[in-house]
């Protein structure tokens, strides 16, 4: 049953290994956005500390979204998607496999790097911990939700920007709770409630997104 | 006369009230007008298609 999940996971990880740039570009994008802000805004640490959670989360969101574009595109262009649609197993499992690989390649490295960047903004230890935790909980949800948009815009010209238009409104709750948890923590309120909501949204996405994405893929590949 | 002036003055809120109502009115007139024009264009196109069809088959 889960064969196809692992088959696709393995293939995509292999592809990423072959072409390590994909991993690095998302990561690099994240680093750039986070580091550009001090340049655009000015070097004052108080302001920076204030806006840090927002900046981190917006950067993570943009990085994840940027990477989404290629989620199904290459498979679509070279015909591998057709073969995936013809696999004798539920398409949503396959989608789940692809999303999982995608998160491992683009989401996880970014999460792991964020503590280091947190130091740039002079964030205290506990805040960084919460930041790490929210990103760990939130980025899979982003990948899942994003896959719907990626599937819907597949093969459309300007798809990359269109996908952001479709997906960003859906991302907003994740952003709010993600950044909210860090802020709540930073201001001493404790981010538990926010974290709980974040987890709940992740679970909901896990249920809904693969189904919606497979439906969208079938439509788009016609 | 004064009352007309007062009416348009809106107790000092003229810009805001007329700005809101004006734009709303503008949009709600523009949409039906645009639709009517699209409909005309569509019917013209359909007539052309039919004419072409009859030329083609004859």
């Amino acid at each position: 049953m889960f064969d196809v999940f692992f088959a696709i996971l393995r293939r995509d990880l292999l592809l990423a290994m072959r072409r390590r740039t994909d991993v690095f570009t998302t990561l690099f994008f994240f680093v750039i956005v986070v580091s550009l802000f001090p340049l655009g805004i000015g070097p004052e640490l108080n302001t920076l500390r204030l806006i840090a959670p927002g900046v981190f989360w917006v950067a993570a969101l943009l990085a994840s979204m940027l990477a989404l574009e290629k989620l199904f595109l290459v498979d679509y262009q070279d015909g591998a998607l057709e073969q995936m649609l013809l696999a004798p197993q539920p398409l949503s499992l396959l989608v789940l496999g692809k999303v999982a690989a995608h998160w491992l390649i683009t989401g996880l490295p970014l999460v792991l790097l964020s503590p280091l960047l947190g130091l740039q903004y002079d964030l205290p230890g506990e805040t960084i911990e919460v930041l790490l935790l929210t990103l760990l909980l939130g980025t899979p949800a982003l990948s899942l939700i994003g896959s719907i948009g990626a599937a819907l815009t597949l093969g459309l010209r300007g798809g990359g920007v269109l996908v952001s238009l479709l997906v960003l409104p859906l991302y907003i709750p994740v952003l709010i709770f993600g950044a909210g948890a860090v802020e709540a923590q930073a201001s001493g309120l404790g981010g538990g409630g926010h974290l709980f909501m974040l987890g709940a949204m992740g679970l909901a996405a896990l249920v809904v997104a693969p189904l919606a994405t497979s439906a969208a893929l079938r439509v788009s590949a016609e | 006369m004064d009352s007309v002036k007062a009416f348009f003055h809106m107790g000092g809120y003229a810009l805001y009230v007329w700005g809101s109502f004006g734009v709303t009115a503008l949009l709600m007139v523009a949409e039906p007008v645009a639709l009517a024009r699209q409909r005309k264009a569509m019917i013209r196109r359909l007539r052309r298609l039919i004419r072409l069809e009859s030329e083609y088959s004859s």
Binding site: A7, G79, L81, E82, Q83, P88 | -
Partner: protein
């Protein structure tokens, strides 16, 4: 086994074909032909279930394919215009990934052997990106040699192949039909397909030989 009833497909606002009907039994090959743009690819994709026909039905073993998607896909092998080869994987990896996805994994050794049979010796471990047009097509076709699916749908499989590879592919198809497989095939090249039971279906509105 494969039964097509009164099929109609529309793309955009153009009706490509309608009233298409045929039946294909084990050991038979259907050669689909017709001019460019007559709808061969569209029919093929409809047979896979990738395109929803506007009318009519496609049945496999008596039941509509919509109702038994997974079972049907397990018995089907489709190779289209685009060959589904990942640029960055080698031939061996491509073949193995495709087989794993189709639910019939093969070992690395088997994969090497199959690719060698297809004349890719010395190219098995190059990323497919650097392979020539025809070599990429060969990698895609390698799946035929290891497939256990009874129904093959091949859309212009001979394109880009040199004479020797065409020969080989023909013999593979012939063997499959003789062993009781079903094949639907499109091609513009006039190739002696099999000695077996060959049906022909013509799509399109242009007379043969007219541009």
């Amino acid at each position: 086994m494969l039964e097509v009833v009164n099929l109609q497909c529309t793309r955009g606002d153009r009706r490509l074909f309608s009233g298409v009907a045929f039946q294909l039994e084990p050991g038979e090959l259907l050669h689909l032909h017709g001019h460019n743009g007559s709808g061969k690819t569209t029919l093929m994709r409809a047979l896979c279930g990738l395109v929803t026909p506007t009318q009519g039905e496609i049945r496999w073993k008596g039941a509509p394919i919509r109702r038994q998607r997974e079972e049907y896909h397990a018995e089907l092998l489709y190779l289209g215009h685009k060959n589904g080869i990942k640029d960055d994987l080698t031939g061996v990896e491509n073949l193995r990934a495709a087989c794993r996805l189709a639910g019939t994994p093969i070992s690395e050794k088997e994969a090497w052997a199959v690719l060698e049979k297809l004349g890719l010796r010395g190219h098995e471990d190059l990323p497919s990106r650097v392979l020539s047009q025809g070599q990429q097509k060969r990698v895609a076709l390698a799946r035929l040699l290891v497939s256990r699916a009874p129904l093959w749908l091949l859309d212009e499989p001979f394109v880009g192949l040199d004479a020797a590879a065409v020969e080989l592919l023909q013999s593979v198809v012939r063997d499959h039909v003789e062993e009781g497989g079903l094949v639907v095939l499109t091609t513009h090249q006039e190739v002696a397909l099999t000695s077996g039971r060959v049906k022909r279906l013509r799509l399109g509105w242009k007379k043969d030989g007219h541009v």
